[in-house]
Structure formats: structure tokens, C-alpha cells
């Protein structure tokens, strides 16, 4: 934590484009941004973003109507495996702008708000590839990992040896949420937001997610 603060301070000092100093100001209290990126593949160093969705959450409200949704034209080809996952083909992104055109608007949208997501580190790493090029520093926003809140609510008091399942489908199921079409950036960001507001209420009220009593039974449904 302290280390991150130090990096932040250093980054703020080295921010190349001072117009983006608002990223270092705390956002409105009670607001976070649910963010999801679809990419050309899973290699953080080589693959690129092809779509981004960011949705503000204000208290108990998910402001889906003001969502930031965009498709991005990557510089590299979209892998066939990735097309199978998110369904975005070369033709679908051909008319989109490159990330450089999209980023300023995204950064103004998120401001200093914490960024929240499922495996948020990956999304931020993908964004940072470009943000660093663009403004000279990495995204300074606080991060919220939704699977960590879930872990804490469900397994925080679990005895050692408890089988742990943090798959997205399992989390949705526990939160009694329907699975919409996953791997659409907007749907993913929206589902993650729904999980988040539900979890935050459980946390506030001190409610835990129940665990099945029996142990060691494998889940063959993929979570």
C-alpha cells in the first residue's frame, strides 16, 4: 500500500501531460467505475485492446445509461481464439478509431475514481500499455478487485483446505445473477457492477455468503 502511494506521488510528479492531473485527484466519494476490456489475446505485452466499456457506480446505482462504450482498432491482428471469445472480427473494428483517439475521453470519464473489475489487474495492465505512452505515467487510480471482495465474503472465515472457486460463473451463481452474454465488454462491466453493488451491501450488513457443508466435491460444470 505504502509502495503504491510512493509510486503515485512519483508518477504525479513525472506526469508528462499536466492536463491529466485530475487522474490524481480523488473522484467523487461513493463513486467507482466498473471497467472491462476485450483484447486481441491474453498476452499483456503483445496483445491489444479492441473494446472498452466503463460504467460508473454511484452508491446503489449503476449508471448504465451513461456508460462509456467504444470499439478500438488494434495495431495487430485479432487472434482466431480471441474472435471466438468476444465475437469481434477485423471487419467489426476496421472503422473504429485507434486507442490514441479513444483514451482522452476514457480518462476524462474515469477521472480519479477507483477502477473496479474482475481480474482488474489485466484490464489495467492492458490500458497502461497505452496510458504510459500517452501521458508518461501509469493509471494512478485505486483498484478494486471484485473477486477479492467475494473471496472475503465467502471464504474469509473458511477453514484451511476449503476448495475455492472464484470463476465468474460461480460468483454470478452465488449472487443469484443471471449470466448474460459474457465477453461483451458492456455486459461484462454491467454484470461485474451488479456483483459489486450486491457484495458491498452484504459487506456493509456483515452478511456472509454460505458455503456448501460438504467438501472436496469437484464442480464439473466449470464453476
Amino acid at each position: 500500500m505504502a509502495l503504491r502511494w510512493l509510486f503515485r506521488a512519483m508518477d504525479k510528479a513525472t506526469l508528462a501531460d499536466k492536463r491529466y492531473s485530475f487522474l490524481f485527484e480523488p473522484g467523487p466519494p461513493d463513486e467507482v467505475v466498473s471497467i472491462d476490456c476485450e483484447t486481441t489475446g491474453l498476452d499483456r505485452n503483445r496483445d491489444e485492446i479492441i473494446s472498452i466499456s466503463a460504467i460508473k457506480i454511484r452508491g446503489d446505482r449503476i449508471l448504465a445509461s451513461q456508460a462509456f462504450n467504444t470499439v478500438v482498432r488494434p495495431r495487430c491482428a485479432i487472434g482466431p481464439e480471441a474472435i471466438k471469445i468476444h465475437g469481434l472480427r477485423e471487419a467489426d473494428v476496421a472503422n473504429a478509431g485507434p486507442i490514441a483517439e479513444v483514451l482522452p475521453e476514457l480518462l476524462r470519464f474515469i477521472g480519479g475514481r477507483p477502477l473496479m473489475g474482475y481480474y482488474i489487474d489485466f484490464d489495467i495492465a492492458m490500458l497502461d500499455n497505452h496510458v504510459a505512452e500517452f501521458i508518461g505515467v501509469q493509471l494512478p487510480n485505486p483498484r478494486i478487485e471484485v473477486s477479492r471482495i467475494y473471496y472475503e465474503r465467502k471464504y474469509g472465515d473458511a477453514p484451511p483446505g476449503t476448495q475455492i472457486d472464484l470463476t465468474f460463473a460461480k460468483i454470478l451463481k452465488d449472487m443469484k445473477l443471471p449470466l448474460f452474454n459474457q465477453h461483451d465488454a458492456f455486459a461484462d462491466a454491467l454484470m461485474t457492477a451488479m456483483i459489486y453493488v450486491s457484495l458491498m451491501d452484504l459487506k456493509e450488513r456483515g452478511v456472509r455468503i454460505s458455503r456448501p457443508r460438504h467438501k472436496g466435491v469437484g464442480d464439473f460444470h466449470g464453476g
Partner: protein, 598 residues
């Protein structure tokens, strides 16, 4: 793709792709913790809430009206009117998608098909719903199989037999077509073939039938879809298909039976009842009454009309049975009546017998007893189960002289017990089906007369509408899993209060009508109910009865009750509307009959 509402179900399926997309883009999602109020009483709603997860309670004046679950939406009335009468409270952790009011009002005004679902007026809403039903009805028909149809028997005659024999067999088995066996070949011959052969081709009735049989038969299997049968008939220009399962001939499918599957054949059944000369002929016709319900419902005919057709057939059946059994000692001295739902003409699926006999004067006890037993016994044989409350002709309490009946009315009216109230209810729904109708008219007049002098009776009588709470838990999945069918809930929570409430008003006003729909129309005519409210009640009753009828038909087919969880969101919304109308009626009657005093 749309994660917030299901664009494939009503009413959202009526939006164009662009409209659905614009609505989706305008929606936010709100989280509510258990116990949190989503819409307060008299509060203007922000928009239409569509439940994504969780359970929401709808309450009015503290009373639980219903529970809503995922995909349900609320509160369409409040949305259009600007404020609702109900409070909505999250029962558990709940997420709702929220369609802003302005966006939704624009869609309602711009797309009449979509807008119809949000009218305040339940009648118009149900009409809009009825149109939607039509397409699914056709689909159901096309999924039925050949074995579901009425088939002519597959009687086989050898090709060397004379034309005369074929004619005689056709007459004996009452069937216009025979299969003709010619060595290994099988053909078909019809009555028309026989006539043409003799009249037009100059053949004699001793010529072999094989000479005129057609051997280019088209066959179908019992498991084939009837749509396939229809196609084969059209394609090969055949009026008959042979139904064959493996090597066995199962029957002959005639175009008329295919058509009657679509349209029902109630007129034929009616004719069969009227022409029956013996009990067994009448029994055969009686067995076909129940078969009319399904085709009628398949065509989307609503309960009110289905019940009218079935009641008409039942009454003709009773009248015919009366004609067949009535001894000379009773003729012109009695009136056969049906009571309860049968008397109101609101019975579709057969329940139990509710009938009686009013005599103008004492008659020969032996002849009377013989008639009583034969009549009730015959009906039981026809498949009308005996009445558990013994409201039947064979019970002397329900088959006696008009003077005896009238002498009892005073006790029925003044005794504050359930049985007396029940007797008044049953009798006030009575309709005459045979004999001297004036006897029933006189008896009813006496009943109304007695009641009108006992103001306190009406309060006690109408009080029964408060016996059952609105169907709490109807939509609650947890409760459903415990195996609660909805048929009972619909009846207690909606159908009974309407029927009984309207009955109370009808007795008070001395109406002659027994049918609830006709009573409602009459009550509106004489100004006892507002015309719009009367119409809403009629529509709500018809809707609840139709739902119940479909559940009953479903139960007959699959052995299990229809679960409300299988209803569409639209149906559940209409259910809530219907129960809302029921609640208004309860409030009105509570005030009108001063029910708080009882």
C-alpha cells in the same frame, strides 16, 4: 445484446430493434437491500422497474398483494398515471433495471402495440393480450399428432364381397369408408364410390367391391404431426388418409375430422344429444362434450364463451335425460334445475352434479323416488361425479315441492351459519333446464323477497368474500416448490370473491340473471356498478377463469398443475391487475354491506 430486459417476451417483443436498443441505452440499474422501499405510496415513480434479481413485495394499505420475481416489472399503472396506489418493497437483495419514465412514455405514445400493455384500463390490455395469443394457438395445433385426432375405424372387407355387403357394413359401423383387401393389396372404398358405381356406372349391387376400390392410398403414422397429414391431403388431393402403425391399420383420417380438430364440432354433439333415443346413445354424446373444450381453447376462445358452449350442451343433455326418464306422474308438475357453477353457466371442465327438482305439488312417492335414483345414477354414468354436498335430485332436500322449498327460505336467510348461506348461494344461481320454468321463477322471487326484509342477511352473506386473503406467495418460487398448485389460489383469491360479491349484489337487486358476466352487465345497466368497473370485473374474471381452465386442461394432459413460474411476465402482470380489481370489489362491498360490522 440486452442484459436488462428480455426483448423476446411481451410487452418488449413489440418494440422494434431500434426502440428496444434505445430503451436499453436509457436504463440504469438500482440495488435495493432487504426491506428497502422501492416505490412509496403515492410517490411518483422514476420509471418502470424490471427485476433482474431478487423478490419484491407489492403492498397496499399494509396488505400484501403479491410477490414479484426476476423479469417481472412494475408499476405500469403508476407510470402512466403519475402515482400508484401500491407500495413496492424489496423482500430480499434486489437489483432492478430502471427504464426512465419519459423514455417509456415516448415509446407508449409512439408504438400503440407496445402502449396497449400500459393502459390503465385492464379491458384494453387484455384485448391486446388476446391478439398475441392467436399466433401461439396455431403453433400448438401444428404440433398435435395424428393420434390426437378422431379416426374412423379401420374396417376391412375382402375385394370379392359384393357392393351390397360393403354398404351394409358401412351402415352397421356408422362409417362412410372401408378398407378393401385384394390379395396383398389394400385399397379404400367410400359410400360415394358405392353410389356412383350403381347410379352412374350402371353396376349392380352384386358386383364385387374390389372393382370400384381405389388402391392409391396415402398413409400416415399415428405419430406424424397433423400438419403433415394436412399437407398430404392437399398434395395428393385426398379427403381420406389411412393411418398405419407398422403393418397394422389403425384407422382412417377424414378431412372433416381434421377440420373439427381445429374448429371443434359442438354443433354435431348438440345434434347428437337432441337425437338420442336411448340412454346409451345419450351417454355416447355426453362423452363428447368434454372434448369440445380443448379445440375451443386452441383457437383462443376465452373462458366466457367456452363455458357458454359447454353449459349449453350440458343443459341440453340434462333436458334430454329428463325427457327420457320422466314418468307420467311427474310430467307438467315439476321443474328440473341446475345450480352452482352449472346454474351460472360457468362450468367448462366438468365438476360435480349440482341439480335439483322443484315440484308444483306432492306426487306419487314411489315414482318420484325411482326418477330421482335413475336420474342421478345416469348422470354419474355419464361422468358427472356425485356432489359431495349431496346437492342432487336424489336428495329429498333438493327435490321437493315449491312450498317446502319456500318454507325453508326463512330459515336459510335468518340462520347465521355457513350451510344456510351456502344454500342461498347455490339456489340463487339456479337455472331451469326442463319442465315448468315458472316454478323456479316463483321460488326465486320468494327468496329475494325474504332476503330483502333482512338487511343483516346481506352483510353476513357477503362477508364470505373476506374469507380468503389475496393469493400471497403465488409468484414466490420457494413456495411453489412446496407443491402448491395455483388452481386453488386463483379460485379463492380471485374467482370466488368476484362470483360471490356479484352474486350478493344480484340478490340484493333481485336480478333474474344467474351468469356472473350477465349479472355484471345488468348491474351496470341499472346503475348499481359503474360501467367501467363492471367491465373490468368481467374481464378480470374471464382472465382468471381462462388461466384456471388452461391449468385444468394441462393437468388432464400431464397430470400436474400449471405453475405460475411458467407464466410469462405479461401474464403475471395481468394477474396482478386482475387481483387489483378483485381488491377494489372487496373494498366496495365492505363499504356497501358494512362488512366491518360482522
Amino acid at each position: 445484446m440486452n442484459p436488462l430486459f428480455d426483448a423476446a417476451t411481451a410487452p418488449f417483443d413489440r418494440l422494434t430493434f431500434e426502440e428496444a436498443e434505445s430503451l436499453r441505452a436509457a436504463m440504469d440499474v438500482a440495488y435495493f437491500r432487504p426491506g428497502q422501499t422501492i416505490i412509496g405510496e403515492d410517490a411518483p415513480p422514476e420509471g418502470l422497474y424490471i427485476i433482474v434479481k431478487g423478490t419484491v413485495e407489492e403492498r397496499a394499505q399494509g396488505e400484501l398483494l403479491g410477490l414479484l420475481g426476476p423479469k417481472d416489472f412494475f408499476d405500469s399503472r403508476a407510470l402512466v398515471q403519475g402515482a400508484g396506489v401500491s407500495t413496492f418493497v424489496a423482500r430480499e437483495e434486489t437489483l432492478c433495471a430502471l427504464a426512465p419514465r419519459d423514455d417509456l412514455l415516448n415509446l407508449i405514445n409512439g408504438n400503440p402495440r407496445f402502449g396497449a400493455f400500459f393502459y390503465i384500463d385492464i379491458s384494453r390490455k387484455l384485448d391486446a393480450m388476446a391478439q398475441q395469443d392467436e399466433s401461439s394457438q396455431i403453433e400448438n395445433i401444428m404440433r398435435a399428432r395424428v393420434r390426437d385426432l378422431f379416426l374412423l375405424p379401420a374396417a376391412i372387407i375382402d375385394s370379392v364381397q359384393p357392393i351390397a355387403s360393403a354398404g351394409r357394413i358401412m351402415r352397421d359401423i356408422d362409417c362412410n369408408a372401408l378398407l378393401v383387401k385384394d390379395g396383398e393389396r389394400i385399397g379404400i372404398v367410400t359410400g360415394m364410390n358405392l353410389s356412383k358405381a350403381v347410379v352412374l356406372k350402371g353396376m349392380t349391387i352384386d358386383d364385387p367391391v374390389g372393382a370400384i376400390a381405389q388402391f392409391d392410398m396415402v398413409t400416415v403414422a399415428p405419430d406424424d404431426f397433423i400438419s403433415q397429414a394436412l399437407l398430404l391431403m392437399t398434395k395428393h388431393n385426398k379427403r381420406r388418409l389411412v393411418v398405419k402403425e407398422g403393418e397394422n391399420f389403425v384407422g382412417i383420417l377424414e378431412d372433416i375430422n381434421l377440420l373439427s380438430f381445429f374448429a371443434g364440432n359442438s354443433q354435431l354433439v348438440g345434434g347428437r344429444i337432441d337425437h338420442a333415443a336411448t340412454l346409451s346413445e345419450l351417454a355416447a354424446a355426453a362423452g363428447q362434450i368434454g372434448g369440445q373444450i380443448r379445440p375451443l381453447r386452441r383457437q383462443g376462445v376465452k373462458f366466457e364463451v367456452v363455458a357458454e358452449i359447454v353449459s349449453d350442451l350440458n343443459r341440453r343433455l340434462f333436458a334430454k335425460l329428463f325427457d327420457l326418464l320422466c314418468p307420467p306422474e311427474l310430467l307438467n308438475k315439476c321443474c328440473l334445475i341446475v345450480m352452482g357453477s352449472e346454474g351460472r353457466g360457468e362450468q367448462a371442465v366438468r365438476t360435480d352434479q349440482d341439480n335439483g327438482l322443484i315440484l308444483s305439488e306432492p306426487v306419487d312417492p314411489t315414482a318420484l323416488q325411482k326418477f330421482r335414483d335413475e336420474f342421478s345414477g345416469a348422470l354419474a354414468d355419464f361422468g358427472f361425479p356425485p356432489c359431495p354436498g349431496q346437492v342432487m335430485v336424489n336428495n329429498p332436500l333438493w327435490s321437493r315441492t315449491i312450498d317446502d322449498f319456500i318454507a325453508d327460505f326463512g330459515r336459510w336467510i335468518t340462520t347465521p351459519d355457513e350451510q344456510s348461506a351456502m344454500n342461498v348461494a347455490i339456489f340463487s344461481d339456479a337455472s331451469a333446464v326442463a319442465g315448468d320454468e315458472s316454478l323456479l321463477a316463483r321460488a326465486k322471487q320468494a327468496l329475494v323477497e325474504k332476503a330483502s326484509h333482512e338487511r343483516v342477511f346481506f352483510g353476513r352473506f357477503a362477508k364470505a368474500i373476506e374469507a380468503f386473503e389475496p393469493p400471497i406467495g403465488l409468484f414466490n418460487r420457494l413456495k411453489l416448490e412446496e407443491g402448491d398448485g395455483d388452481a386453488l389460489d386463483l379460485k379463492k383469491g380471485g374467482i370466488f370473491p368476484i362470483v360471490h360479491g356479484v352474486r350478493s349484489l344480484a340478490i340484493e337487486q333481485g336480478l333474474e340473471e344467474t351468469n356472473t358476466f350477465k349479472r355484471l352487465a345488468r348491474l351496470a345497466e341499472i346503475g348499481a356498478l359503474k360501467p367501467e368497473f363492471s367491465r373490468d370485473l368481467a374481464r378480470a374474471l374471464d382472465y382468471l377463469q381462462t388461466l384456471r381452465l388452461d391449468a385444468q386442461l394441462d393437468a388432464a394432459a400431464s397430470g400436474s398443475l400449471l405453475r405460475p413460474g411458467e407464466l410469462t411476465s405479461m401474464d403475471r402482470d395481468l394477474l396482478r391487475d386482475s387481483f387489483q380489481v378483485v381488491k377494489q370489489l372487496r373494498d366496495l362491498l365492505r363499504h356497501h354491506f358494512n362488512l366491518n360490522m360482522f
